[in-house]
Every structure is written in structure tokens, then in C-alpha cells.
């Protein structure tokens, strides 16, 4: 149905004039921008520049002379907000102005070789490239008599400081998180992976925004064919404006209409690195504090980096609790509705008595009661996130009143319902993956509707449909439900429980098969047998 509709809509759109996004005529751009090259005349170049950057008040054209003996005219062109003035003045302007000898004949070569002390310089002679470079924040250096411009990087560091993760918090884990600057993010990854195996492939998305996107992976470890597939899917994105990773996800996922996200997002470099080590690949976007990881499976959605910083006993226990929380979150409200509406006789007598006693005097049917309360919770949650800082206190107080004792005292809802809502609220925060819990949040209302219409039978039918859907999902070819279905016994070691680190000998079977071995065998702790005392030498007085 949806396919058909979208095809219909697409068919209507196809009749409109075709226009590549962003490739339309730029205002003031010279004709044939693709091929037009720079001229040797400084004045002419200046006129073209003024035309291209028409009405860009922040474009600065600084004209000066190179050398003080036989000066050569030159100009530096840059966008004011993107350039570090300090560097520009010290490194470029003062160096060039203070050259004492006659500027050499091959001035450009000399600039590159020995004059300009900048790390990153490019030579460009086509206007498109120059425009792109200046717009990106490079300083364009034009010299009289040369039809080539130097693009030098003096980027202002506009990134904010590295801060703590907001969504994925841990107790024992490292406290650094990605921020909006791609270079910083790459640095955080490189700092953890001291190897030339770490590959970073650059791409640009968006004809106007030209966002820098990196595909990051470990050569030799990464799942075969994965990187090519990711790049293919990214290259398909032909849009003009491109702002964040969230947008990219929707373009490159496997199943277009699924509420489940088959690409993980993280803001933790340590998590990203451990995923890379498993054979997955990451996609990093400039201006986005979240990196995408593919492929993603439901088991990894329930893993938190914290699991690997605590003892495995505790981690396994917590992980079991998380799975419980997942099902509680999804099914508790619908179970409440089913039981109070249809199956009184199916729960122990004492329990049904207390539920029914609590529901006495409540004017709404259970479904409406649950629906109202769950919606109220969703609204409070949304308001809590969206509200400006000073108001959060107000919202939490008012929220506590709305879905708290007052609502019960007013006889609007039963106290059992408040317990149900509170439990779903808490369990929703126990799911470590934000994408998974956001996928489930609307679904639980569908389950409530099915419970209200057909009781437990409806819930079970809903679960069957949901499992069918989940079983059909794939993330870059890897089934979303692996390692459960298709079952791979070895990978269950890190799915429902977590085995000790020295037992994790192999990478995930469907992802890391390029280089399955992870560690040498027999790495389990082997303390000396005799009483476990390692201090025997000093005891005998040998030292």
C-alpha cells in the first residue's frame, strides 16, 4: 500500500521539471563555472570574486604586497568568521610582507616550498574549487600574474570543549563524548586506536551544505563488503541541504518503513572503538555529536558500555534486568488493560481483588485510563526535554501532581494505574539504546489498543506480528535479530548475559568473520597454585 502510494506520488513528481538539487545557477556566478579558470590579472580575479560572493558582507579581501624590495601585488580572500586572525597575521601576512629579497620568478612553487609555514595548502585554478575552498573557511591567496590560487587552512577552532556524554552515561567508563567537530571526534578515536589499520574515508554530502562525512573502519577486521555498501548508500544521497546524522540514517537504512533503527548511534568514543574492533564500521558526520554504527543488531541495542567496565557477574545480571525492562516497558500497560478488561478470572484472586478495589469509582474504562496516563507521561517527558532550563523544576513538580497521588485522590485514575505508568516510565530509561526505546514508545500504544479490543489474545497477535517484522529486518545484510535468529550459539556470550572478557575469543560470527580470532586462547587468569601468594621470594629472604 505504502509502496504503491509512494510510487504514485513519485509518478506525479516526475512530471515536474528536473532540477538537480543545488546545481542551479548560483547568483552572480560566472558562466560555465565548472570549467572557468582564474585569470592572471589580480584586478580581474577580484571582480569575479566580488561577483561570486555578492552581498556576502563577511567576505574580506585584503590586498597587500609581497616583499619590500620589488613588491608583487597579492590579495588574501577569506570569510571573516571562519578564519583565525592570529594565525593569518603571524603566519601569512607578516611573513609575506617582510620578505627582504626580490620575490623569485616561480613564486607559487617557492611559496609552497619555503615561504608559507602552513600545514595544509592546496593549489587551485578553477573558480568552482576556489569558491568551495573559501566557503569552507580556507584563505585564498591570489598573486598578480599567477592564474593559480593557494588555498591555505587557518581555520578558527570553533569546537566546544569535550564534555561528558549526555545520553549514554556510565559510572566507571571514560567521560569523554563526541562533539560537533569532526576533527575532534576523529582525534578521540585515533587516540584509542594507535594503528594504521584505522581507515578514514572522506565524503561530502549535500550540494550546498557540503557536509564532511567520514567512513571509519579497521582494515582487515571490517566485515567484507560493508564499507563499499556504506559508501554506495551515502553516495546515493543527492540533496542540497544536509544537516545531521539523523537525516542520513533515513536515507541509508535497509527497510524504509520500519520504526526500528537498524543503524546504531553513539556519542561515546569508547563504544565506537569497541564496535570497530568487532568488525563494524562507523559513519562520522561533521557538526553532529553522534556517530552512526553499522550493522546494528538487537543484542547490541541492549548492551551498554558500562557492561564491560564491571565484573561480568554484575553485567550479566544487569543485562537480564534490561531485557526484563524492555518487555515490561512494551507490554505492561497492555497487560493491565487486558487483565482488567477481559481476564479477571485469570489472575490470582487476591491480586484481582486489590486491582478492582483500586479501580472502584474510576469513571473511565481501563483502556481510556491507561491511554490518558501514558499520554500524560509522554507529554511530561517531551516537555521536560524541550523546556528551557529554569522551567524543568516546574514541570517536574506539576508532572508529579498530574500522574501522582493527586490524580488518584481526585478519583480520576486508580492507584494501580499510577504504579503501571511509573513502571513503564522507569523501564523506558533502562533501555540503553535511545533508538530502540524511541522505536518502542509508539508501539506500546498499538499494543494497548490490541489489548483493549481483544485482550491477551490481541497482545499475543501483536507480538507475533512484531516478531515477524523484527525477523525480516536486516542491517547491512546482517539480520537484526541475530544472534538469536538465525541462532549463533557462540555470540550468545555477549547477548543476554556477558561472559568474562577472557572468554570472548571470537568476534561476532556474522560481522567479524574476516578475522575471527580476537585473543590468544587460554588467557583466563592463572594465579600460582601454592596458596596464591605471589610474594614468596621476599619471604625467603632472598632479597
Amino acid at each position: 500500500m505504502l509502496h504503491w502510494l509512494s510510487r504514485l506520488v513519485g509518478g506525479i513528481r516526475r512530471n515536474r521539471p528536473k532540477n538537480k538539487p543545488g546545481s542551479g545557477e548560483l547568483p552572480g556566478f560566472p558562466p560555465d563555472p565548472e570549467t572557468r579558470t582564474l585569470s592572471a590579472s589580480l584586478e580581474q580575479n577580484k571582480t569575479v570574486l566580488r561577483e561570486i560572493f555578492d552581498r556576502c558582507a563577511d567576505l574580506i579581501i585584503r590586498e597587500f604586497s609581497i616583499g619590500n624590495q620589488h613588491p608583487v601585488r597579492a590579495m588574501a580572500v577569506f570569510l571573516d568568521p571562519l578564519v583565525d586572525y592570529d594565525l593569518l597575521q603571524k603566519d601569512l601576512l607578516s611573513t609575506l610582507m617582510n620578505i627582504n629579497q626580490t620575490p623569485p620568478r616561480k613564486i607559487i612553487g617557492a611559496m609552497l616550498e619555503s615561504i608559507i609555514p602552513a600545514g595544509k595548502i592546496e593549489l587551485k585554478n578553477r573558480w568552482v574549487e576556489v569558491e568551495a575552498g573559501v566557503a569552507e573557511g580556507l584563505v585564498g591567496l591570489f598573486i598578480e600574474g599567477e592564474n593559480t590560487a593557494l588555498l591555505i587552512s587557518y581555520a578558527e577552532d570553533t569546537s566546544r570543549a569535550i564534555s561528558k556524554p549526555v545520553t549514554e552515561r556510565t559510572i566507571r567508563g571514560p567521560g569523554d563524548a563526541f562533539n560537533e567537530d569532526l576533527r575532534t571526534n576523529l582525534a578521540l578515536v585515533r587516540k584509542r586506536l594507535h594503528t594504521s589499520r584505522l581507515a578514514v574515508e572522506n565524503m561530502e554530502i549535500g550540494a550546498v551544505t557540503k557536509m564532511m562525512v567520514c567512513v571509519v573502519y579497521l582494515k582487515g577486521y571490517v566485515m567484507p563488503g560493508l564499507v563499499e555498501e556504506i559508501k554506495k548508500r551515502l553516495e546515493r544521497i543527492k540533496v542540497d541541504g544536509f544537516v545531521s546524522a539523523g537525516q542520513a540514517e533515513e536515507f541509508i537504512v535497509d527497510s524504509r518503513y520500519s520504526p526500528f533503527n537498524t543503524i546504531a548511534a553513539t556519542e561515546r568514543p569508547d563504544l565506537l572503538v569497541s564496535r570497530l574492533l568487532e568488525g563494524r564500521a562507523a559513519i562520522m558526520f561533521d557538526n553532529t555529536p553522534f556517530c552512526l554504527i553499522a550493522p546494528n543488531t538487537i543484542a547490541t541495542d541492549l548492551q551498554s558500555p558500562e557492561d564491560y567496565y564491571h565484573r561480568y557477574w554484575f553485567s550479566s545480571f544487569i543485562r537480564l534486568i534490561r531485557w526484563g525492562a524492555l518487555f515490561t516497558f512494551l507490554l505492561l500497560p497492555s497487560a493491565y488493560i487486558a487483565v482488567t478488561t477481559f481476564h479477571h478470572e485469570m489472575i490470582p484472586t487476591n491480586l484481582v481483588n486489590s486491582i478492582m478495589a483500586a479501580r472502584e469509582g474510576v469513571p473511565f474504562p481501563a483502556f481510556l485510563e491507561a491511554l490518558l496516563m501514558e499520554l500524560a507521561f509522554e507529554v511530561i517527558r517531551e516537555a521536560g526535554i524541550r523546556s528551557p532550563g529554569p522551567f524543568t523544576q516546574t514541570i517536574s513538580i506539576v508532572g508529579a501532581i498530574v500522574i501522582g497521588q493527586t490524580a488518584v485522590a481526585a478519583g480520576l485514575v486508580s492507584s494501580v494505574m499510577v504504579v503501571v505508568v511509573a513502571l513503564t516510565a522507569i523501564t523506558s530509561f533502562a533501555i540503553p539504546s535511545l533508538t530502540l526505546s524511541t522505536a518502542l514508545r509508539p508501539l506500546r500504544f498499538l499494543f494497548m489498543i490490541s489489548a483493549a479490543s481483544m485482550g491477551l489474545f490481541g497482545v499475543m497477535i501483536g507480538l507475533s506480528v512484531l516478531t515477524f517484522h523484527l525477523a525480516s529486518l536486516r542491517s547491512f545484510g546482517v539480520p537484526y535479530l541475530s544472534p538469536f535468529a538465525p541462532l549463533s550459539w557462540g555470540d550468545l556470550k555477549d547477548a543476554i548475559i556477558r561472559v568474562p572478557a577472557w572468554r570472548m575469543k571470537l568476534r561476532p560470527r556474522l560481522i567479524g568473520y574476516n578475522e575471527p580470532q580476537r585473543q590468544e586462547p587460554g588467557l583466563g587468569p592463572q594465579p600460582p597454585k601454592a596458596g596464591g601468594n605471589t610474594n614468596t621470594r621476599t619471604k625467603r629472604g632472598e632479597r
Partner: protein
């Protein structure tokens, strides 16, 4: 091959297990006990699986001759074009009919036991739609879904069985074979309806990953089903006595109702709903899939998906028209269904195998 999916031999075991067990545990015991009395556990375990192993042997022998085709696909090659197409059409009808019966069993149970005010038609439509969604997604997804659901299904069943066995009174299972072997055999006749569903392997064979293990998977499945079915029969008769089991519509449901551990774990009917829906959806999806494949083969279609909606609608209508209440369904299950099912699931395939052997037909190597 109309479906590109693949599944492993362990998934085949689970698929067949859930197919054979999904409706049997509720509908079979009363009928078996009616004939076999306290010896129903022998009928349901050893005898039924012996019959099932015949089916599996025939089906795997056929499958090895035509490893990449479904049963209805190679019928024309074995029997000649027109007789083959006619038989394939008959099989499409057979599968559709069986699907309708399963659908009706499902809505009958849910209607009688839980949702008395919901019209069975609604239950039919909802169940059929859920299963049809699985069919639309393909056999691979059905197999994966079944292996996700299987642990829940099996553990719930096991829970009820263990709690039931605690209450078992061995005297109810005596005397052993009081009236000779004949009643036990007649009881097994009821069981063959469900065990014979191993025949679906003939339709699933082309999607198997490791075709060499088909026979082994078939027998593993029959062994496990024999143990489960035998335990269920023994638990039911052992707890309630055979006369009670005979008169009840769903003895297993009564067992769940009867169980009470320390007055905390009680009223476990809810668990029966879980087992029931989880199993029926898988079973129905497999049957629908085979119906669709058979129909598509008969008509020579390129995709089986176009047949889903007509077939599902047909099963809902058959289920509603032919068996409006359980008063029509139950007698049909116990009287005409066993010979009818045995014809389709054992006799005809055996004949087809015989003809294939005599005419020495097998799949050409190239394809």
C-alpha cells in the same frame, strides 16, 4: 523457486515441531483418549511418530530426487504435464482446506475459552492477517520468527507439563493395554492427523540449507514431538483419569486451570493463550505459505505473493461457512479427517515416489 529464503536444519526442526504441536496439544487428547483410554500416551508418542517417520521417509526420498523444487512443482515432471497439474491443483486445495481447519481450530479455542463475546469471524480475520503478514515476508522470516518464539512456546509448555506431572496419579494410567492393541491403534489414528503434517517438509525442502540433514532433522523432530505428546497424554490422563479427559473439549486447558502451586502459581490459563497463539501463528503461516506456493505452481505464477490475499480470504470464508461452531469442527477432526489427511500426506506422496522411481525421474543436474 518462488521464495528466495533459506533456513537451517535446526530451524526446520523447530518449524515442524511447532507445526505438529501447535494445535495437537489442545485438540488431540480428547479424541485419542476416547479410543485408546489410559493408553493414549502410546498412541500419541510411539505409534504416531512411527507413522510420521513413514511420511518423512517418503518425503525425503522425493526431496532428494528433486532437491530444488517444492512438491507441487515437480508433480508434472513425474506424472506428466496434465495429471501433474491436476494433482498440484488438488494439493493447493488440500492445503487451503487444512489451513481453514487450523484457522477454525484457533478461533474456536479462543472463542470458547477466552473471548466469548468476540465473534469468531473477527478472531479468524485477525489471526489470518497476522499469519499472512509472515507469509508475505517469506519462509526465511517465518523460520526465524519461529526460532525466536520457540523458546517461549517450549518453556511455557514445559512449565505446565512439569506442574501437571507433580499431580499425576499413576493408577490412572493402568491397566496397560486392557483391550489389546486395537484401541491404541485407533487412538493413534487421531494423532496421525497432526503427526502427518511432517509432510510439509515436501514443500519446505527446496529452502533447506543443508539438504543432507533433512532426514535427520525429520527424525529428531518426530522424536521430540513423540516425547512431548506422550508426556501430555500421560499427564492429562494421569491427573484427571481417562473418562474426564474424554468428555472435555480442551483437556489441556483444564490442566492449566487445575494447577495450583502454594496458592501463588495458579490460574495458568494465560500461559495456554501464549502457547496457543505463538504456535498457531507459525503453523498457519507455514500452511499458508505452502498453499500459496502450491497455487502459484499450479497456475504457473512468477510470484507467490499475489495469491496471499485470495487464499487467506478463502480460508476465512471456508472456516466460517463449513465449521460455524465447534459442534461441526470436532466431529470432523476425529472422523473423516484422519483418512483424508493420510491420503494426502502419505498415500499419494508414496504413489508419486513409486512412479518417480519406476519412471526414473529426477531433477536434471543443470538446474
Amino acid at each position: 523457486m518462488l521464495d528466495k529464503g533459506r533456513f537451517s536444519s535446526i530451524q526446520l526442526v523447530i518449524l515442524l515441531l511447532m507445526t505438529e504441536g501447535a494445535t495437537a496439544f489442545l485438540f488431540a487428547p480428547a479424541g485419542i483418549t476416547k479410543f485408546a483410554g489410559p493408553d493414549g500416551w502410546i498412541s500419541a508418542s510411539i505409534l504416531a511418530s512411527a507413522y510420521g517417520s513413514l511420511v518423512v521417509l517418503v518425503v525425503v526420498a522425493l526431496g532428494n530426487r528433486f532437491p530444488s523444487q517444492a512438491f507441487t512443482e515437480y508433480l508434472p515432471a513425474v506424472l506428466g504435464k496434465i495429471p501433474g497439474k491436476i494433482l498440484a491443483a488438488l494439493y493447493a486445495g488440500f492445503f487451503i482446506h487444512l489451513s481453514a481447519i487450523i484457522l477454525n481450530e484457533s478461533s474456536t479455542f479462543v472463542h470458547v475459552a477466552f473471548l466469548r463475546e468476540t465473534p469468531p469471524t473477527v478472531l479468524d480475520i485477525v489471526t489470518a492477517a497476522a499469519a499472512a503478514y509472515g507469509v508475505y515476508l517469506g519462509i526465511e522470516v517465518i523460520a526465524r520468527q519461529s526460532s525466536i518464539v520457540f523458546p517461549v512456546w517450549a518453556l511455557s509448555l514445559l512449565l505446565l507439563l512439569i506442574l501437571g506431572i507433580i499431580e499425576l496419579n499413576p493408577n490412572n494410567l493402568r491397566p496397560f493395554m486392557e483391550n489389546g492393541p486395537l484401541p491404541v491403534l485407533r487412538g493413534a489414528g487421531i494423532s496421525t492427523v497432526f503427526r502427518g503434517e511432517a509432510f510439509l517438509l515436501a514443500m519446505l525442502f527446496p529452502y533447506l540449507n543443508q539438504k543432507r540433514e533433512a532426514l535427520k532433522s525429520g527424525f529428531v523432530n518426530l522424536g521430540v514431538v513423540a516425547i512431548i505428546a506422550g508426556t501430555i497424554m500421560a499427564a492429562l490422563v494421569g491427573v484427571f483419569g481417562d473418562s474426564f479427559v474424554t468428555i472435555k473439549l480442551f483437556p489441556f486447558f483444564e490442566l492449566a486451570r487445575y494447577i495450583s502451586v502454594a496458592r501463588i502459581v495458579e490460574r495458568l490459563e494465560i500461559v495456554v493463550v501464549i502457547i496457543w497463539v505463538a504456535g498457531v501463528i507459525v503453523k498457519l503461516a507455514v500452511f499458508y505459505h505452502s498453499s500459496c506456493i502450491a497455487t502459484a505452481n499450479t497456475l504457473g505464477l512468477k510470484s507467490y505473493r499475489v495469491t496471499i490475499i485470495p487464499i487467506v480470504a478463502a480460508t476465512v470464508i471456508i472456516s466460517e461457512m463449513v465449521y460455524p461452531t465447534h459442534a461441526q469442527l470436532i466431529p470432523f477432526l476425529f472422523k473423516p479427517l484422519p483418512p483424508y489427511a493420510a491420503t494426502g500426506e502419505l498415500l499419494v506422496p508414496a504413489l508419486v515416489l513409486l512412479i518417480a522411481v519406476i519412471r526414473n525421474k529426477r531433477e536434471s543436474r543443470q538446474s
